[in-house]
Symmetry: C2
Subunit: 351 residues, 2 copies
């Protein structure tokens, strides 16, 4: 990677991540799969969920907090459901396995719901929700977030995470509709970014322990994120946490391990994926043309003052993916330095 | 019903609604089922979605806008999915049928997703999401709302409805967790209530066509509802509309008929229900005890200033149901007058 441009390709990034995991002792096939998924997160523009997380994952592996050679176990199985124990493996491996299983089941049953326990952080939610797209299926993914930043509505103890949800729905000529959202007004990563840039946060992102707006991201530790729609977002975070956590026998509430602060304890992260086969309801081609029409209809709305276009969820993601495939993936200098040091430590070729 | 108290019982209300439908020509068995479901909505405290809607449904039936003798057809079926054509019948009948089917399938497959087209307004979302509870199943229900009140984010044309979602999760000793929410900050019914009471709306419920806050509910026709979390709520309304509408071949976007303004046109309302069998993941009794623990944990959080308790979604609903079972269901005087006039017109015994 040239210092001048600081961009890299998807292939190069995937190779680098795989090499790093192999150097840690991960089997090569798993390492290549993990590298491809993490590099894909960067390609999608999910900068806080791709190679950015590699040093943290390596630190957890070295501290004994993650299993390099997990053996996934089927805990429960019905024709359209499964519960998988991820044996404390990397979340990407657990959830790509779970998603493959969900798609295989849904191809017959029409819909499948596969949950996982004893998993770990798996990167961006859209990564898994989008996998069923190429089989003309709709994907829905939910995770218990890997650190609690949200109190129950009216409270001050952070018992909930931002518990994200992602939906992916295929279109014909247009990009797929991909909604990937935290149940809080801002994801915690946005607060961190504002802090790094020395920016003030808008009112509505966070409040302090007295319930007053908190706009200085350097004071983020003194308050909490606000849920979307007030009690509604709290309700969504609660329900998603129960479905992805409690139902799967995974951590929820006080049991959630802050994966940033503690690299040793088993996180017992829970997630679930739903694959819904469009062909079980209608002709997939006709459906996808219908989604193109939804795109056109939404775009045709007159605009509010201050807006220059109507955007569909997933539009920015598709634009970013196309641009990064063409121009490469920019690695900011501080991350580049961290990855160079990591390469050095692990004795692998640098990015 | 005595004028002094203006309360009635669930049984009396269900009987009255059934009599009204029978007088319109609905088969007695269907009328009794519809009466029970609509009265249950009132018992649940969903005052805008129970007997309050009866005059409107009767008007639609008389105008030829709803089919009194629908024959439900199975359009598509797999082991865990189905798509039902409701033949323009009352939504309550279509969706209770769909929910029964989903539960029967999920008992074997673990999960089932049943969609419906050519349905109609079906009352509160929680009514269907809660049906699977007694079989130790989790229910998830989504509908395309029966009138568009929401533009795409950044636009001014109301192409979307408040498209509600409901989740119901059983507990052991505690009430079930029931989250029933519109994807807008306020449901449109709240705006109507504020208008009736001559109250000002808080900023954040609605904006006008210039994007300015709209707080006078009498001016509601000059603006639109705001989605929860801005673009996030727009994304949820869009995705739910596609899953409940487009996927089922039901109306979505410009095709949605405003059921308040037009009682003649077929609405082609779409909904779907998911039944998820807890036993496919874990022991249901242990799971329900786990939900009791979630209740206790959330309740244990210290409080923000200005709050006197942490509430769980469904807590108010359970309290209301217990109170109304004990004390009866209050029918406000204006509604009482409308129902008395309706009874007179239809020649049925008054409430």
């Amino acid at each position: 990677m040239s210092d001048a441009t600081r961009t890299t390709t998807y292939d190069n990034l995937a190779r680098f991540i795989a090499d790093a995991f192999i150097a840690c002792g991960m089997p090569a096939e798993d390492a290549r799969k993990a590298g491809a998924l993490m590099a894909r997160a960067d390609l999608m523009g999910k900068d806080g969920h791709g190679v950015f997380r590699l040093p943290q994952y390596v630190e957890r592996i070295r501290a004994g907090g993650m299993n390099l050679r997990p053996e996934f176990r089927m805990i429960e199985e019905r024709t359209a459901t499964a519960l998988i124990d991820g044996d404390n493996g990397l979340g990407h491996l657990v959830m790509s396995h779970a998603t493959e299983l969900a798609m295989a089941k849904a191809a017959t049953t029409g819909v499948a719901w596969v949950g996982a326990r004893h998993s770990n952080h798996a990167g961006p939610a859209a990564l898994y929700a989008m996998m069923p797209l190429e089989r003309d299926m709709i994907g829905i993914y939910v995770a218990v977030g890997s650190a609690n930043h949200l109190p129950p509505w009216g409270g001050t103890e952070m018992l909930l995470s931002t518990n994200p949800i992602a939906f992916a729905i295929p279109a014909a000529e247009r990009p797929p509709i991909v909604l990937d959202m935290a149940t809080t007004v801002a994801a915690y990563g946005k607060v961190k970014t504002a802090a790094q840039r020395g920016e003030t946060m808008p009112e509505g992102w966070m409040i302090d322990r007295q319930g007053n707006p908190l706009t200085d991201p350097a004071r983020a530790g003194e308050g909490f994120l606000l849920p979307i729609g007030g009690p509604k977002g709290y309700g969504l975070a609660l329900v998603f946490g129960i479905l992805a956590g409690t139902l799967n026998g995974a951590a929820f509430g006080r049991d959630v391990v802050d994966f940033n602060a503690d690299v040793r304890s088993t996180t017992n992260t829970g997630h679930f994926i739903i694959a819904l086969d469009i062909g079980a309801f209608t002709d997939p081609e006709r459906f996808k043309e219908g989604i193109d029409e939804v795109w056109a209809e939404m775009k045709s709305s007159p605009l509010l003052p201050g807006f220059d276009e109507i955007r569909l969820p997933g539009e920015g993601l598709a634009r970013t993916m196309a641009a990064r495939r063409r121009d490469g993936i920019l690695i900011p200098a501080p991350l580049q330095a961290r990855l160079a040091a990591l390469a050095d430590e692990l004795g692998v070729a640098p990015l």
